[in-house]
């Protein structure tokens, strides 16, 4: 249990099923889906007036396991454990933190790999296209289920930032604060292009079989290749230089196409381990959901006017996948509506990965930002 120090400790995945017959969930695409199961985890304790809840929304390949450990022999904690726990940025002694796996995902929530009740087989490509709006709608069901009227804060990085912004657009009266990190109001053509390359890599794999690989094969190579491309975009030129330089795996060049350089080995390893935990069709659906996301112009505030939400917008200097200018576009929009906000561009060499790594800076910003939010909320009562 030694390695559980400074952690929430052990946690179990929970789940909520809704939109059961005769109900369904109306999706943004016009289609409907049901029943829907959403996996979630919680850390800390919900206070008596249910005012200390923070919703954590995960990035593209994340899951509900944001912090703590699943069992005694678990070597790795959740994906943002450095930020969630006693005394940490999202202090579980003070706050009740919720994290859900997104709709369309493959870690406990309903997605293309789930069983279609109509056929008794996995949905595969019969799964309807889902959007960030739909993901937030599902989170809202979980928040309702937990009896929380108003969240103290919604936060997330990358695609999590999109969900955070979507909460602002969909349920401005149900959140006090928003912390979108390393994200954008909409995907740029470059971001859509990178996603499309990833999707094409998956679909070009013969094993993908138009999505019907369940119980048969796995588009291992395609999905691994997509992930390799992804990992390049998560790093920066500098962070790759620092991490790998031109270091060789062996002493000499092989003069063949086996992996000579450490960076090649790293990407292959990342690709292979991703295939073990991620569903290829989920990859297609979720990247598409990101590409469809667009809250630019008036869409962030569809009801017009302004909102009473405090913002902390964070970007990273070397992030070229979600460049800081995209965060500044969020800030610009907030200015035009007179919304109080803090924006910080953290100097970092880690690229897009920085949001998982620049813990000290993020902790400083988030801790104080939340303190002030709590102060204001209490004053407003």
């Amino acid at each position: 249990m030694d390695n559980f120090q400074n952690s929430v400790g052990l946690v179990e995945v929970q789940s909520l099923t809704f939109a059961e017959p005769p109900d369904t969930l109306a999706l943004a695409s016009g289609k409907s889906l049901g029943p829907i199961t959403i996996a979630y985890e919680t850390y800390g304790t919900l206070n008596r007036d249910r005012s200390n809840a923070i919703l954590m929304t995960h990035a593209f390949s994340g899951d509900a396991h944001a912090a703590a450990y699943h069992n005694e022999s678990d070597k790795h904690p959740g994906w943002w454990d450095s930020m969630i726990g006693p005394g940490k940025a999202f202090d579980t002694d003070q706050y009740f933190v919720i994290c859900t796996n997104v709709l369309g995902g493959c870690a406990g929530s309903t997605g293309p790999s789930s069983i279609n009740p109509e056929t008794g087989k996995p949905y595969a490509l019969d799964f309807p296209m889902v959007t960030i709006v739909d993901m937030v709608e599902c989170q809202r069901h979980v928040v309702d289920h937990l009896g929380i009227d108003k969240l103290l804060c919604v936060t997330g990085g990358s695609m999590g930032g999109m969900q955070t912004l979507q909460w602002v657009a969909s349920y401005p009266d149900r959140i006090h604060a928003a912390i979108p990190i390393a994200t954008a109001l909409k995907h740029s053509p470059q971001q859509i292009a990178l996603d499309e390359v990833g999707r094409q890599a998956v679909m070009a794999d013969a094993e993908w079989d138009r999505g019907n690989y369940y119980g048969k094969g796995l588009p291992r190579k395609g999905l691994a290749l997509a992930r390799m491309i992804g990992h390049i975009t998560y790093m920066s030129d500098k962070s790759m230089e620092d991490k790998f330089s031109r270091n060789l795996k062996d002493k000499d060049l092989s003069f063949s196409f086996i992996e000579d350089f450490e960076v090649e080995g790293y990407l292959r390893y990342r690709g292979d381990s991703f295939v073990k935990r991620f569903d290829a069709n989920s990859y297609l659906y979720i990247t598409k959901a990101m590409d469809y996301f667009d809250l630019s112009g008036d869409l962030l505030f569809p009801h017009g006017g302004t909102v009473d939400i405090r913002f902390l917008v964070i970007a990273f200097g070397s992030d070229w996948l979600y460049p800081a200018y995209q965060s500044r576009e969020i800030v610009h929009l907030l200015k035009t509506r007179g919304v109080e906000a803090t924006y910080c561009e953290i100097k970092s060499t880690y690229g897009h990965d920085a949001f998982l790594l620049e813990i000290e800076e993020e902790t400083h910003l988030i801790k104080h930002f939340l303190d002030k939010t709590v102060q204001l909320v209490q004053k407003g009562k």
Binding site: R310, L312, R328, V331, H332, K335, T336, G338, E340, A341, T342, Y343, C344, E345, I346, K347, E361, H364, L365, H368, F369, D371, K372, Q375
Partner: protein, 195 residues
């Protein structure tokens, strides 16, 4: 409390909306929020200072002043403060005009380059002056504009900016006698001539 802060606190009506351009570590802004119950926003270029602002509960944009002003609708604030930051800006005219577009009034605090000590140092030592209000060596100063209180008044006149109040400052008290010679800093309350 710093003299300039004390005076600014005295100038600002309670409950105002304030944009503080170049807000540093947020000391003044936090003071205004506490004493004057103001609401608003700081803008600061230094990342370290941004952390200090957030620590004090001050909302702040990590940005330079020009970009910090951009995007606000007309008259979003009651006051725009440029305290000891205007001299670090290249396009003075643009920043002042923009400040008086987004704010009803502007409060500008500048170091006085014509302070007697600065004049003496330049005259007798032949070196660029280093004084309490201009503490930097020529080679590492963040300042890009060097003006006297008189220069600033002339500039405002030429740019149709009305100076409502001029408050020349020494270290501990206000200066009324020959301010362009004896004041280290000057605080100005400005409004647009058209407003």
């Amino acid at each position: 409390m710093r003299l300039d802060h004390e005076i600014i606190v005295g100038l600002i009506r309670p409950g105002s909306r304030v944009l503080d351009l170049g807000c540093g570590d947020g000391t003044l802004h936090a003071l205004l929020e506490k004493n004057n119950k103001t609401r608003g926003q700081g803008v600061e270029l230094s990342e370290t200072c941004v952390y200090h602002c957030v620590e004090k509960g001050v909302s702040v944009f990590h940005s330079n002043i020009e970009n910090g002003l951009q995007g606000y609708p007309d008259q979003s604030f009651d006051y725009v403060i440029l305290n000891q930051s205007l001299q670090e800006v290249k396009n003075i005219g643009l920043v002042l005009n923009e400040s008086l577009r987004v704010g009803a009034k502007a409060i500008v605090g500048i170091p006085n380059f014509a302070y007697w000590d600065a004049r003496f140092r330049l005259l007798f030592s032949g070196k660029a002056p280093v004084t309490p209000s201009l503490p930097y060596n020529w080679s590492d100063t963040p300042n890009v504009r060097f003006m006297s209180l008189m220069d600033f008044k002339i500039f405002c006149r030429e740019h149709e900016i009305e100076i409502e109040k001029t408050l020349p400052l020494g270290v501990h008290h206000r200066i009324s006698f020959w301010p362009n010679l004896f004041a280290q800093n000057g605080l100005f309350l400005l409004k647009s001539i058209h407003s």
